[in-house]
Amino acid sequence: MIDLVTDLTPICALGGTVARIETFGGLTITEHSDLGLASLALRKGQSAPQPFGLTLPDVGQAVSKDSYGAFWTGRDQWMIEGQGQGAIDFAAAVRAEAPGVTVTEQTDGFTAFEIASAQGAAPIEALMRKLVNIDPKALGAGQTTRTGLEHMTVFLIRRADDRLVVIGMRTLAGSLWHALAVAARRLED
């Protein structure tokens, strides 16, 4: 793997040198700054590879294995995730695992906010009801979708009943955090 050896200091999507984390009652929102992301698309006639041993999931599904994951983003298209892989050339790592398919670096294209509930599924579902027009009951653990959130396009991944990841465009990180934080704060009241 090709580490990004440089003396330049990166900043997080929200502008800080360290990732933001904030707790609102039973919900904690964490800026996930070291998630490696690369899009993977099949070319004509290719069959799905198994990068990092992952079986690329079907429509609306997300899978994970060790520190890697994959979620469906479109027909013959997935996003590959590498936990703790944000600082490397993750696309190159994926390409090495899946030669011949189309891979595009996306680590810096997005910002991931991990939302964890200390009180089970209910706060996560209440938050979803304030933010996205997606039925929380139809987005159970291991499911993913892409939708609109306050006029921004986001990926939602329900990692578990009590954990939701919202992945949005990096340049919109501030607005996305604001939307999540306001909704979470109101649920506290």
Binding site: V59, G60, G74, R75, Q77, R146, T147, G148, T153
Partner: protein, 92 residues
Amino acid sequence: MLIPHPLLGLRDSQEFTYLGDAALMNRPDPATPDAEAVFCDYVFLRDNPAGVHRELWFHEQGDRSWLVVTRDTTTHEILGAELASDVKGAAK
């Protein structure tokens, strides 16, 4: 409205961008002698029926697929939805 996405099921129309008449998929052959006239029809003339219409919707806040949605414009009843690439592929 709810659009019955062939892969994702019912999705709110707010996730979509509307384009209109699916005849836009039938881009004419540019090599024919009357190409200019045929293109003129293709670009400027659209059916706008009061009733069943095949139209293009783009799932922009979703999986970014273009759909051909068959919709009754008088009742908003949706009779079907297909992936445009499948429709086009089947036509070839």
